[in-house]
Amino acid sequence: MKNQKKKSEFLYFALRNKKLQVGLSIVLLFLMLALIGPMLVHNKPFAYVDPSGAQPPSSEYWFGTTSFGQDIFSQFIYGLRASFLVGIIGGGIGTFLGMLIGFIAGYRGGIVDEILNVITNIILVIPTLAVLLIIAAYLQVRSVLTESLFIGFTAWPWAARAIRAQTFSLRTRDFVDMARMSARKPLKIIATEIAPNMMSYLVMTFILQFGGAILIATTLDFIGLGPTNAVSLGLIMQWAVLWGALQFGSWWWFIPPGLAITAIVGALYTMNVGLDEAFNPKLREM
């Protein structure tokens, strides 16, 4: 009964938390757009639809057109997809690797912990930009998947650190000793005793990785290290700047994608704060 009470107690506070409500709605809104948008938009993102160059928003082209006459709104919708994809895959890989390394280092301690710590520190310290430039030189064609993989494999140290710390403190609890005395294997103990107790932590870590991945991807896209065969919000902004939107004042080209990124990542972080309040009774405002 307590689990139900706890679940409903959590849901009670979660659903009433303003930050969670606002954040979640914004994210869901953009997610809807990304999922069903392409069906509502008839123009392909790279199609040249309007020969008259960069046009401000109108009833036909809601976000206007680029200087090549492409429909920005359709680019925007398809770009949303790419951004969410990077978030899920990059954030997912980051969280997964962070969990793997963090749990093992935290549970085992000793020499295993030392070795994993060294690896974590090395990855943290590597200048990811330099590595990416080298990769870009070798891979002429890069996809959204490549970008997600790269982000995932370089962003996990933060998650690993946090999860390791939590695992350390949970490991000394009596119920873990009880599981050890029941001849349970360590991996099983991590999965069945430690991870469930950290559920809230893991969810919040994933959200942070998700938002972080989108941000990193946008930055990479903007400076030209993004995918070569796709459209993403960061790429739209890159093209805008590259093709003179700033000089010509075509604000409709770079403001919508920029605002969208800000809104999505901001909403994700707000959701996280709201979730923290819902999970942690001490932070709730009475």
């Binding site: 009964m1 307590k2 009596d174 469930p196």
Partner: protein
């Protein structure tokens, strides 16, 4: 059944691990069949560390712990599982022994998954019910509940029932009743004696002298990781010989007599002697005698079944 031979647990402390902390220092004793042995010590005496080493939750730095003549530290895999079939433990805080997000019965299902995978539902329910009844719990009242819905006494008995599901021959009870209310303590204590009559051996770790006296056949008095006095409970309590034991007996508040006016040196509590007798800094018998810190005093038999580690006697 269980034997400890010169067991020590040494931790490296200080920057770069230069200094050593002996949590347990050269402890040897044994527990036979159907025996309750009390391990009496205050905080810092190493009693919990000993319990955890016996339960294979901590590694042994020096010495050997043997169960039925097999060195416990060599057990792995299947051998270790067999060990846990025979040796189990119950700890001090009943609430922290349960994973708070699950129901209390989960501790039974863990045992079932690991030790009885082939047993079918009805047979298992019977087994569990029998175990619960043998510790004085009514299955209808305690099954299917979360830990916070049960009382401390019920939770501790639940844990004992879990040990009884296996073929437990040896139970390590680490301060299991110190967090319970006075009215429930006695019931759990009586249960332990009951179990002994049914064939269990128990290592009863406690800081409370009167509890140790109530249920144990043999006692060991521990101070700073070393055994000060050991032997039959009756003999130790009736005639304590070690200065530390004497101080303990005189300082314990009792309901049948008032404290004597005894001057206890409190200044010595913080200092530690580098080697030799652990009690040297506070001992009134030693009074700066160098021979006490030259080496660890050995356990000497002063009368049948009564050993003391003090060279001044």
């Amino acid at each position: 059944m269980l034997r400890l031979d010169h067991v020590s647990k040494i931790y490296k402390t200080g920057t770069f691990g230069g200094k050593e902390l002996h949590a347990v220092n050269d402890v040897s004793f044994d527990v036979k069949n159907r025996e309750i042995v009390s391990l009496i010590g205050e905080s810092g005496s190493g009693k919990s560390t000993l319990g955890k080493m016996i339960l294979r939750l901590l590694s042994v730095t020096k010495g050997t712990i043997s169960f039925d003549d097999i060195d416990v530290s060599t057990l792995k895999g299947v051998g270790l599982k067999e060990y846990y079939r025979n040796v189990q433990g119950v700890f001090q805080d009943p609430f922290s022994s349960y994973n708070p997000i699950f129901k209390a019965d989960r501790i039974f299902s863990i045992i079932r998954e690991e030790f009885f995978p082939g047993v079918d539902g009805a047979e298992w329910t019977q087994k569990v019910d029998k175990s619960l009844e043998s510790v004085g719990l009514n299955p209808e009242h305690v099954l299917n509940k979360f830990p916070h819905q049960l009382s401390g006494g019920q939770l501790q008995r639940f844990l004992i029932a879990r040990a009884l599901l296996l073929d437990t021959k040896f139970l390590v009870a680490d301060e299991i009743i110190s967090m319970l209310d006075a009215s429930t303590r006695i019931d759990v204590l009586n249960l332990l004696v009951d179990l002994k009559d049914r064939g269990l051996s128990i290592l009863f770790i406690t800081h409370d002298l009167s509890l140790g006296y109530y249920i144990s056949d043999k006692s060991l008095i521990l101070y700073r990781g070393c055994i000060m006095e050991s032997g039959s409970t009756q003999k130790i309590y009736k005639k304590p010989m070690h200065p530390y034991s004497k101080m303990l007996m005189a300082s314990v508040p009792r309901l049948d007599r008032k404290w004597e006016k005894m001057d206890i040196d409190l200044k010595g509590e913080h200092s530690k002697s580098p080697m030799g007798c652990a009690y040297y800094a506070r001992c009134q018998l030693a009074s700066k005698d160098e021979s006490c810190i030259r080496s660890n005093p050995p356990l000497v038999e002063v009368e049948p079944d009564h050993f003391v580690a003090c060279i001044k006697l």
